[in-house]
Amino acid sequence: MLRKFLPHPGLSALLILTWLLLVNDFKWGSLVFAAILSVAIPLLTAPYWPDRPMVKNWLAAAEFMLIVIYDIVKSNITVALIVLFKPKSQIQPLWVTVPLDLRTPEAITVLAGTITMTPGTVTADMSADGRALLVHCLDATDADAIRDDIKSRYETRLMRIFE
């Protein structure tokens, strides 16, 4: 019964929080409207998202977020320096294949997003069987080093969070 009306309890809680933050002020009326939205939106989107994302280890998730924020700041500076000071002819773009050990769609999505937000790399595509990611590097020569870095820094942590 509860499962039928709240297919995604986590999403519902997030929607309430998001609505209250959007209002930017606590009023009981907005809480009621947030509650209505938090039931209606997950019900309407449930057919497109049958599974629940399974975060098994919230401590590891918090650690992962801190690492990603640090890497985003670092990557901004790295990319800015390349754009400003490296001559156009010396920038060497490179495609890298990253084989995946992750299997759940949510975990792969988080990994792909993280790669795009961090040092000099953008996720371009996934192999059709979901076992490898195609990553584009702005300026790199060693594909193996980048692959190992992504796997050890992000994927092992995501394995602990989701699987």
């Binding site: 933050l21 400003l84 795009t116 937000m117 953008v122 595509d125 069987d129 490898a132």
Partner: protein, 133 residues
């Protein structure tokens, strides 16, 4: 006074990063490398302005403003997806399997894979059309 210096410094830093991100669009040679400049350099550009805005609200108006946190969240959600869609459109339009490294698995990259097999892992079951039950 200290807060004023901090807010001013954050605004200058964010302005510099936003400028570098835009300059990258002119300087970098092709679409895939151009994709790097706005997705990265502008994150810190927008982020700095948002932190400055929150700080300003706390110090001068004595209230906490939450909109900035939401903007950060939406930005982090949308930036990688936009970059991914642009990259996929570029792949479908301009690139062939030979231009890309091998997948190392049995099937080609999803954008270039023209077989009838569904892309894995399957997220949405075929399901019935119409209203959700």
């Amino acid at each position: 006074m200290f807060a004023e210096i901090l807010v001013a410094a954050l605004l200058v830093i964010s302005g510099v990063f936003a400028l570098v991100g835009s300059y990258g669009l002119i300087k970098l040679p092709d679409l895939m490398t151009r994709l790097h400049a706005p997705t990265k350099a502008s994150t810190l550009g927008v982020g700095g302005a948002l932190i400055a805005s929150m700080l300003h609200a706390i110090v001068w108006r004595n209230e906490v403003s939450w909109h900035e946190l939401l903007i950060t969240l939406f930005l982090f959600l949308t930036a990688p997806i936009t970059a991914n869609f642009i990259a996929k459109a570029h792949m479908a339009d301009k690139l062939k399997s030979g231009d890309l490294p091998p997948t190392g698995t049995d099937r080609d990259w999803a954008t270039l894979d023209l077989s009838e097999e569904p892309v894995q892992p399957v997220m949405t079951p075929p399901g019935q059309p119409g209203r959700p039950s």
